[in-house]
Amino acid sequence: MKRFAALFTALDQTTRTTQKVDALSSYFQQAADADKVWTIAILSGRRPKRGVTTTLMREWAAEAAGLPLWLIEESYPIVGDLSETIALILPYPKEHEDQSLSYWINIISSLGSMEVADKRAAILKAWDSLRPVERFLFNKLITGGLRIGVSQKLMTRALAQATGIDEPELAHRLMGNWSPAETTFEDLILSDDPSVDLSRPYPFYLAYQLESLEALGPPIEWRAEQKWDGIRGQIILRDGQHFVWSRGEELVTDRFPEFGQLRDFCPSGTVIDGEILAFRDGRPLPFAALQRRIGRKTVPKKLREQTPVVVMVYDLLEQDGTDIRAQAYDERRAKLERLAASLPEGLPLRLSPAISFENWDSLARERENSREKGVEGIMLKRAGSPYLSGRKKGDWWKWKIDPLTIDAVMIYAQSGHGRRANLFTDFTFAVWNGDELVPFTKAYSGLTDAEFRQITAWVRKNTKERFGPVRAVTPQHVFEIAFEGIQVSSRHKSGVALRFPRMSRWRHDKPVQEANTLDDLKDMLDVYG
């Protein structure tokens, strides 16, 4: 654990990319193989199954520190992280012994099957033999969500530096369905056997927000299609089996049983990239409809009928078992079109239509119609470009429509987590209904650090009431809230739910009486809902 803690500290102590890569790379050259695999797993968002609740951890920590539980609860929002709070309040360890990262992870993994008394004993013993930083990491591994400020991309680069294997090749090997408990460094990283995992997806190519049309060069080099508002998905058909991966590298095959039909019609060795959409009568249903499908592991028949899904396909990554990502977009598109044309009607698969355009102006007009079509805007792809991995600038751009906006009054504030600890960053907003303020959304992002500091100082002085971590504040500040869509909601008092709400502007110029009304929101619902 000492070595892993030293790695964590080194990564935490610098904001420079090269120093992070160097620290990781030297770790990958020195650590034991089992620890390396776990480190890769942690940095790519995998973690051991949680075997103990945070409620119990709080209680045991209070007990070990000889402090009342309420004091831990009060400290937590100020520190902004429960694992760190616990690590900080416990007394310095009495009997420090250095064990490997894998040793501690094995203990964490075994917690799930223990009786509560044994869990307690195991955790108290761990706390008493780990130093504060190690203790923090131990807690984080239990609770999940350890963020070290290292993207998967950066980790892959460090691994490439340490092993001499190509970065894109490593990115591909790290994709998919592997479990750190069941693989070895040799199998995962060093061996070069593509048949190891039938379900293994390709890294997704992710687009950047369009910066300037002019910089793209001649329109003739570009292809356009709708930007669909669903779940990015990769459908893999190999050896008579099918797998559906979400962009977050989650295997979601069982949530969309419809796609099983594709096995009967697509040749084996086909991998398709597209957008999973709830879709009826030739147009997408609102994202909220799809959300009902994502939330559950299995899908009852009724729900399947209510929210039928399709995959709107826009790229072909593998054909006849061959990786064709290096081919030009136009070539891949032609192959995808031939594949789509060969399929019978009635399958849950549609080809994302190409939008023809002569110049940027005509495309801009097309973009204006996005909201009526239920799409988020336009995607631009360079005709001659290969399919890259990860977020890379240059060949794919998303050109989204401008968000909807409404001016709302801040009524509740709550402090944030992580680097926003001890700052008020999470707000609830309301609109007028007569002379009453009706809350309708929360928003967390969009302000600068300076604005968050300013509003934090204001909240401290203008708290009317406290409900645990939430503070009711004097209704005084108006913010412009930007959002991508609006839906009817029976769960919210206001009757609406917004998609991607954020603060786009602090309206210092606007008195609180002039904020928008619930009727304004309902009008938007009529037009865009």
């Binding site: 935490d12 102590q13 610098t14 904001t15 520190a65 402090l67 009342p68 309420w70 004091l71 009060e74 400290s75 100020i78 520190v79 902004g80 992280d81 760190e84 709070t85 900080l88 309040i89 923090f136 400020g149 987590h417 992580g418 680097r419 926003r420 600890a421 001890n422 700052l423 650090d449 500091r453 100082a457």
Partner: protein, 337 residues
């Protein structure tokens, strides 16, 4: 009541004076020279001898009377004396006795000794008015020697890599504490003007500090390769920093650096956990050692700390003040133009 809590500050009716008032009053007794305690505009000031030069420098022409630590000054029916608070050089707790009842205002304080401040002295009293900037059990300080080692290691490594080490610290107290504890044989030390002003004052008072060079437009940083640069927190990240090239390693020294989220928000490379305020254990010990039953808590996590003290059997109350204490969001001392 020996002391009352008014809108202008803490007031003593028996002596008709205020302690660290935040609005202009006719007579002010001052715990120490930090800007949120020693404010301009009062008719007359009483402070410790050791705090006086900094106050004169910062507040200009003021009517200032001084007293030695422990010496008693009679003001009306009140007997006032200063006792070391260990916060910065010259910082004091203020003891006020009226007809046998003793109240103590802590000002800002810390219990661990440092190389420059008069060490904290517990004062027995009936009522204790305590700051609680770090009044949560998550704040516990390491031995300062460990922190000094960390700063030395950081400086040495940067120097070896041909980089400047820019360390943010308050101009009065923290900066001199670091100066007198780091290994000054590692390399040259440069200082921001606001820090050097304070250095000059404290040197004139007899404090021994290593040699430092004031950063001015005439100074070429290239002539001081691998220097340790002491900067005020507000100068960090501003245009003042641009003169140090290539990009220096940056750090802050503050008690807040004990929380990872706050440390990351500062976006400095390093955060050294070094505070001039008492940590959780220090606050509790200080309260215990006064023998007081009534505790008034000011600046900091007052609600939480008061509730904790009540559970420990004290009669604890919150006093709203305008003291800033150790903050990261607002600089404590003005920067010179």
């Amino acid at each position: 009541m020996v002391l009352e809590f008014r809108d202008d500050g803490i007031y003593c009716p028996a002596g008709d004076f205020y302690i660290d008032p935040w609005k202009p009053v006719s007579r002010a007794v001052i715990t120490h020279g930090h800007a949120d305690h020693a404010r301009p505009g009062h008719g007359s000031y009483l402070a410790t001898e050791a705090a006086a030069p900094v106050m004169r420098f910062r507040l200009g022409e003021i009517s200032l009377q001084t007293a030695r630590f422990g010496a008693q000054t009679q003001i009306g029916d009140a007997t006032v004396s200063f006792h070391p608070a260990g916060h910065v050089p010259g910082s004091a707790q203020i003891r006020v006795a009226v007809r046998g009842e003793v109240w103590v205002v802590s000002g800002d304080y810390k219990l661990e000794p440092d190389p420059i401040s008069e060490p904290f002295e517990p004062v027995r009293c009936h009522a204790f008015i305590s700051e609680c900037t770090f009044g949560l059990p998550v704040f516990t300080w390491d031995n300062p020697n460990i922190v000094t080692e960390q700063i030395n290691d950081w400086w040495q490594a940067n120097r070896a890599a041909g980089r400047f080490s820019v360390l943010g610290a308050y101009a009065l107290g923290k900066a001199q504490r670091i100066l007198s504890s780091v290994d000054h044989t590692i390399g040259p030390i440069l200082t921001h003007g606001a820090i050097e002003n304070t250095n000059e004052i404290l040197r004139a008072q007899g404090l021994s500090l290593p040699q430092t060079t004031r950063v001015t437009p005439d100074i070429n940083p290239k002539h001081y390769p691998g220097a340790l640069v002491l900067a005020t927190p507000s100068a960090m990240g501003g245009g003042w920093m641009k003169r140090f090239r290539p990009a220096p390693s940056t750090a802050f020294a503050s008690g807040w650096m004990g929380v990872r989220g706050i440390r990351r928000r500062r976006a400095a490379d390093r955060g050294f956990i070094l505070s001039d305020h008492a940590d959780w254990n220090g606050l509790n010990k200080a309260v215990r050692d006064t023998g007081a039953e009534r505790i008034f808590v000011t600046h900091g996590y007052t609600q939480i700390f008061a509730k904790w003290l009540s559970e420990q059997g004290y009669e604890a109350r919150i006093v709203e003040t305008e003291f800033e204490g150790e903050t990261l969001e607002t600089p404590q001392l003005d920067d010179p133009a």
